[in-house]
Amino acid sequence: MIRAMRRVRVMGPRRELEGTLRVLQDLGSMHLGSPPRLPALNPSPTTRREQRLVRQLRALVADAETARTLLDLPQTPVDSPPPVPAPWPSWARQARQLRRRAEQLRERRQRLEEERALLGKYREMLDAFSGLFEAGRLPAAVRAYHIVLRPGQASVVEPLRQALAEALDSAFELRTRTLSAGDTALLLLVPLPRTGRVERLLGESGVQEVPLPAGYERATAVEALPRMRARLDALPALLEEVDGERKIEAAVAAGALPPMLAAAQDAISRLEAVGHAASTRTAFILEGWVPAPDLPELGEALRQRIGPEITVEELPTAPDVDAPVVLQNPRLFRPFQLLVEMLPLPTYGSIDPTPFVAVFFPVFFGLMVGDIGYGVVMLGLGVLLHRRSRPGTPLHAVAQIALVCSVFTVIFGVLFGELFGDAGRRVLGLHPLVLDREEPKDIVSFLILCVGIGGVHVLLGLVLGVFNAMHGHHRRQALGRGLSAVMILLVVVALLAAVKLLPAQFLTPTVVALLVAFPLLIIAEGIVAPVELLATMGNILSYARIMALGTASVMLAVVANRLAGAMGSVVVGAIFALLFHLVNFALGLFSPTVHALRLHYVEFFGRFYSPGGVRYRPFTHWRTH
């Protein structure tokens, strides 16, 4: 059901607006509406001081969030109230310092990581050339190029050598070595005045110099290698040092950031909420919505904490103003709210379909899968998910829905006598109690059952549509929905009488009633009414998908079992059967869910559901959002 809301108006002296908002935030029950439009009232303007404060608080929040993210701190709830007045300047300074320090540590770590990666890459290359040079520095007039070629690029070496010989008259030295990963390392030494020409040639050959790390540019391999090794050995300790500093910063931030973040977000909310009030020079008015049971507490709290000059008045609900919507259902049905909330919420005052979804969704799912074995496996997975997920999260609701669906799957499995297809019958001697989904005659009965359930479901939707239309004072629409429901019933009775499943005497009066109802339907709903009636009949036939998916599921399971027998080897057969059942189980989780949802969203909700409700968002503390 949709929780009953009361429209309220809170009035008081202008100077008490901030205090009032603080009380409302503590209570966390009022959904603030637009500023009321009444004569002599203006929207409450925020002062320049308040605007500046909002900007400063946003900067504080940005600093604190950046520091929290960089230091890998989780969002932790704050239970104690913030100090009044809040020390904003010192908090802002602290947040800024924490952010800067976290950024510095991140940059230091990045630099060290990059250096380690670069030195590691060079070490092997320089190792390869270490024997080629005598110890000492390169002559000042020589430039060294270090190049690494990928395995497929080695063919460019000889053309490059020829091009260099032509261009430099053999005034160069080119050495190559093959590295462990198949790359080719090139060391090219050329006189400094010829470097421009050489770089053009290198570019034309498609090879690119890998620059040496800073500080090693003028060194030979023999000189650079020991320094690189020493630096590589020192880097892990430096990285650990940075990590240690980061841990200390994180410990400081873990204590400091949550209270300032919560207080700043709360203050921003309060300052923004000022925009929901209208005021004169001396008084303010706030309007909004409160759940009916919370209304007395609201008035009492405001009188106690602000004073008797604050008044809370309940307003009549205007038909053109939509109250916010929050679904509230008994515990058993609550997980299924998730399936309803996946669509836009129903409008206030209309019907919440959650209880109907909670009844029909597991039935449809169970009818489609209908297997004890699959149901038990699903039950196990549901229990696991239920234990692993936190209460109140969507995942927890999914686990609860899975548990209910698995129970219905087991129940229908018992009724159909199925355990991993026909394995239960072969091994344990199970027998179907109601329907045998492998028997051709029972398949037809199963189809009739599914379409029959569809008829009941769609008729229920039409009846709910009548209630919805009556509630919204749309009498003509209510009459149309009612007539559609009656006509569908009459069509079903006429068909049953025609095929002698009902006494033949029913046929004539039913047809006469249909002929009378038809023009009435056109008068009520217009010329499109017959088309809609046909669409409704089509919707009922759409429930044949329950039978189709159910039959396909049992057939796949039977095929899996037969494959096991046809393999010759018991082990190979069992593996094949297991894999096939696994595929069928995965399909059995996905397809029935999607199709059961579709039957609800399209066939059932289409008859009565009126989307477009405004979500109830109470004005409350940031940490409880």
Binding site: P440, I443, A544, A548, V594, H595, R598
Partner: protein, 73 residues
């Protein structure tokens, strides 16, 4: 010979709607992916949209089963 025609009819009854479903879903799929990239909250609508053309296959399957059952199975 009769068995051949019955089998062919059942095969056509399921395969033609299956091809039609595949075609429809091939058009819905990219549009759905594009919509989801911009508005992830449309995921429910997208799932329902994808399930709508499957009605053709399902009804084709039902018709094929009836053909086989009427022919004695």
């Amino acid at each position: 010979m009769q068995l051949f025609w019955i089998t062919l009819s059942a095969a056509l009854a399921i395969s033609i709607p299956a091809l039609a479903t595949a075609w429809a879903q091939s058009r819905i799929g990219p549009a759905a992916a594009a919509s989801l990239a911009e508005k992830p909250e449309l995921s429910t609508t997208v799932i329902v949209m994808l399930a709508i053309p499957e009605t053709m296959s399902i009804l084709g399957f039902v018709v094929a089963m009836f053909i086989m059952l009427r022919a004695g199975g």
